[in-house]
């Protein structure tokens, strides 16, 4: 209401002035009035209205789900699973970062789906992410490869005051230096003498950043929904390339150079632990 009030008063005052002033003053006033009307119109124009006039086609809606498994078994907190290698282990906490996920088309175009997502096995709302990537202008909408990384890229890993899934509230930062824990597995394992021992693996540092590449066969179309299910097999995480033995190495937090061999073994295993499933 206020602009209308001011504006109507302004016009009234200007009209009276126009009647009573000299020719030169009248010209100046008319110019100023025209200028002001244009100014008001331009500044008040609603940008949203402009955008609404564009006819849009909804891009494909892509949902990526991460299915954490031990072999073919779904995960239940506290349940003990037999590893391929023999040791039994349980999970009370299993979280990791998936970053820079993308689909690569037959023509070589890369379609990014996320930046950083925290996957938490024990939080049903944190087992994947959704994206609506635009496929307009791509040479091909058929994708034969999915790429992503387990971990947080170096740029984001060297600054702590970050929002979204990188917010420190999720308990995935170190307490002794700036940086993120890429993967946490906390639970227990059964030792060779039959006792139950704690298992605490915190994987991180720049050396643990693990690129993953998976074959996929998916054709995206506008206006449609797509589900991509990615299986993460913990059996493979602990044995795909190198057999990780828990006994004697059951608490590792990537804090010292002594942990480097374990970090590199985990990295090699993790790169082989994901697969696309129907």
């Amino acid at each position: 209401m206020l602009p209308v009030f001011i504006y109507s008063n302004l016009i009234m005052m200007s009209s009276r002035l126009l009647l009573n002033s000299s020719r030169r003053a009248k010209e100046t006033l008319i110019f100023l009035l025209c200028f002001s009307i244009v100014t008001v119109l331009v500044s008040c124009r609603d940008k949203e209205t402009e955008e609404e006039q564009v006819v849009t086609v909804n891009p494909p809606a892509v949902r990526v789900n991460f299915l954490n498994r031990v072999g073919d078994s779904a995960i239940v907190a506290g349940h003990f699973y037999d590893r391929d290698g023999g040791e039994s282990f349980s999970l009370d906490l299993f979280k990791y970062y998936i970053s820079h996920a993308a689909l690569v088309s037959d023509a070589g175009d890369t379609l990014y789906l996320n930046e950083h997502t925290l996957i938490d096995e024990f939080d049903a709302n944190r087992r994947g992410f959704s994206a609506c990537p635009s496929i307009d202008g791509l040479n091909s909408a058929h994708f034969n490869q999915m790429i992503f990384a387990l971990g947080v890229d170096q740029q984001h890993n060297t600054s702590g005051d970050q929002a979204g899934d990188l917010d420190p509230v999720y308990g995935m930062i170190w307490t002794w230096s700036t940086g993120y824990i890429f993967l946490k597995h906390e639970g227990q394992f059964l030792s060779s003498t039959g006792t139950t021992e704690p298992l605490l693996y915190h994987l991180g540092t720049v050396k643990a950043f693990t690129p993953v590449s998976l074959p996929i066969d998916i054709h995206l179309e506008n206006e449609k929904q797509f589900n991509i299910n990615v299986k993460f097999d913990l059996n493979k995480m602990y044995s795909a390339v190198s057999n990780i033995v828990f006994e004697g190495n059951n608490v590792i937090q990537s804090t010292a150079p002594n942990d480097l061999p374990w970090i590199l073994e985990m990295k090699a295993n993790i790169a082989q632990s994901f697969s696309i499933v129907n």
């Binding site: 302004l10 003053a25 006033l29 002001s36 500044s43 008040c44």
Partner: protein
Amino acid sequence: MKRSWIWICAVSCFVVGCYKEAENGPLGPTPYQLNIPKGLPPMIIPADNPLTVEGVYLGRMLFYDPILSGDNSQSCASCHMQQHGFTDGQKYSVGIDGIEGKRNSMPLINLGWQSSFFWDGGAPDLESQALDPVINPIEMHDTWANAVNEIKAIPMYQNLFKKAFGIDEITTPYVVKAIAQFERTLISGDSKYDQYKRGEAYLTPLELQGLDLFTDMNKGDCNHCHVLGSTFSDFAFRNTGLDSIPVDEGRYIITWNPADKGKFKTPSLRNIALTAPYMHDGRFNTLMECVEHYNTGFRYTPNLDPNLYTAQKGRMTQQEREAIVAFMHTLTDESFIQMEDFQDPR
């Protein structure tokens, strides 16, 4: 008269034209004007966290608020007290669970000129640095989820965060941004030495002798690392031969580079007389012990700083060491430890 009407019309038009813009949001927080003392270079401030009056005030409130610790018993200020140059005067700080830390509390002085934080440089910026003590089990032993929830529950903070950052939802990054803003205002540049440089004070003959020895490469040679004037440190990492085999591996813990074993950040000497005890582990109680370490006490350990490796042991007399200590006392800034703007605002 007519001319004034023309002006009224023109100004009114612009007021009306801008009205819609203005009702979309407040004008935002007020930029904070840092008072950089003569002799210090301009401060580099992160583009995503400019200093504002509201942000600095919020950071000051948070700095003194024990809400950030697990049992709400300790604040940042518990281990960073103004009267001690924002250290705690202890060899090691004690966390909320009564557990003693392993390193000496660092002074919070002229932080805006540093490019890494903690003794080992484990944090690249002040915002990141503020994250760690809150969740470290031997310090404030909280979780960020809990700390942020507690802050959110206080209407005063809802209001202060809104004013400082224009946000309705308080999140961790904004908590540490505010604390970092306050910390960047903790500037010291009015010591007796600064006044002497500005021609406003005299140094005694003993202090002047200390100043000469400070820069004398065959005597104190302090200047190599604790660069005279400005910040009184180059903030590089060095092994100063405190132990033959480093008990605390320092910078190596961060970089995993064997050449960094036993290296720690060179601290500033500003207000050094207020921040005893000294070294990363608080092993020396007096400045005289520190000077004596660099005179005869350092050990020939791998990674020993080349400046010490080539320094002759016992090169300073007792009188010369006293002169250097006298000069270091001229770096105390009384106005810094009395500055009201740095105190608990409650």
